[in-house]
Amino acid sequence: MRPGRGALVAGLGLLALLAGGALACGSAGLGLGEGGGLALLRLPRVVAALAAGAALGLGGATQQGLFRNPLADPGLTGVFGGAMLGLATLLGFAPGFAWSHAWSLPAAAFAGALTLSGLLVALGRDGPPARLLLIGLGLNAFAAAGTLLIANLAPESRELLVNGGAGDWLGMASPELVVRPALLCLVAGGLLLTLARPLDLLALGEDVAQAAGCDLPGLRRRAIVLTALAAAAATCLVGQIAFVGLLAPHLARALVGPRHHLVLPAAGLAGATLLLVADTLGRSAWPGTPVSAAAVMALLGAPLFILIARRSHG
């Protein structure tokens, strides 16, 4: 028997505790600071990690459901690469505009993510899901190269873009930078939750899903647009961090089973928890030498991922 809904409630409670802990942890040691001052300073970063982690977990679970493949992840299918390329294009060629128009960053990331998702679907149409993933890998490499090229062409944004590529943007979190992408994460995440039923039907194969009344083209459109939005908003907050979207759905299925009305919220919770823990550890475990959330995520996530993969296939 799997714990099901109880696991969701327990996970939410755990996440609240961890968020409280994250507000009290930092390079200045333990404590909330005078009048909660330090906690207030850390709040945008904690919110950013929670929102981005949840969006990534939900985006990963949606892509795995849509492609019926446990390897799908916005980080591998080029959606992330597209978001980063969109941001790089804006920051590299029009940095003045980017910083004076608050919505322009998430908009550019969304445009990039959507373009790459569209290319992925157009090129991989009518093929098996595995081919779609291979095409995604190619697109991702292409987008990463584009981002690097722009970073080289635009010296003033170079450091920023390199840090973003390494998933090291949480350190810049400020209320102004966090509020809009976090809001978008919330909207995209909430709408992704509504895809649970069609994703359950799709798990039974395209024929059965369609025969049962699932509007497959409509589901694909909604899933791809919303995953692009979630990935774009998360990229604005963290930069590129691949492992959360891959690992969170696996963790979720191991805990609550494969039904999407449980997997989607559980993957959101798992993603938020993973990124929050990775970021909190990265900025407080080695005072004076903070480590990026992406690095800690891979360090902790990779062994966990291998463990789950071995258990679920043996």
Partner: protein, 231 residues
Amino acid sequence: MAEATLRLDRLAVELGGQRRVDGVSLTLRAGEAAAVIGANGAGKTTLLRAIAGLLPAATGGIEVAGLDPRTAGPAASARRRGYFPQQPTCAWDPTVDELGGIADQPADWARWRDRLALTALATRPLSTLSGGERKAAHLALTLAMLGEPYGALLLLDEPTTSLDQPRQRVVRTIVHELTRAGAACLVTTHDAAWAGDFPRVLALAEGRVVADGTPAQVLNADVGRAVWGGP
């Protein structure tokens, strides 16, 4: 006479430049059932998929409860139709009961799960079941999703293949009961004995209906040669 649940008028399907179904006409009313027999590749599965609305390029007339599944929109035409594919799959590894949860009809699910002797397997992941048990679980899901049988169309593609004898008997009984309750059932099978239980049998060869009638008219040596070849 009751309104037709299924009406096919010279249905034709071309896939990959090849005619897979050619000029099939068939009417099934509430409470009528027919078996479709034919060799591998005769077009049985393609016929069922076209009726299920999965092949928009199919030409000719298809009406399910008065609606054309190619144009009615997926939700509208799915409401009164159950479709069981030849090789049901699931991308993940749910337990039998988690699979049944997809039906969103707990009472119906429990009933069909019990009928198909899956109760003791309810908490087992599908990956730990035998091929036949897995198939039975998917069949129970299809039946649970169907809801009220009267006026519904049930399309079953080789539902008894790879099931053990007791489950095969249960499936035959279920199809009989659902038909009596007012469903229209179209079933493909390689089991000539079961086909003989249906009031009507269609024999397909190379996409065409080579015989259509009672078992006595269809299940004979002449039709057998047309369907399977040989002397």
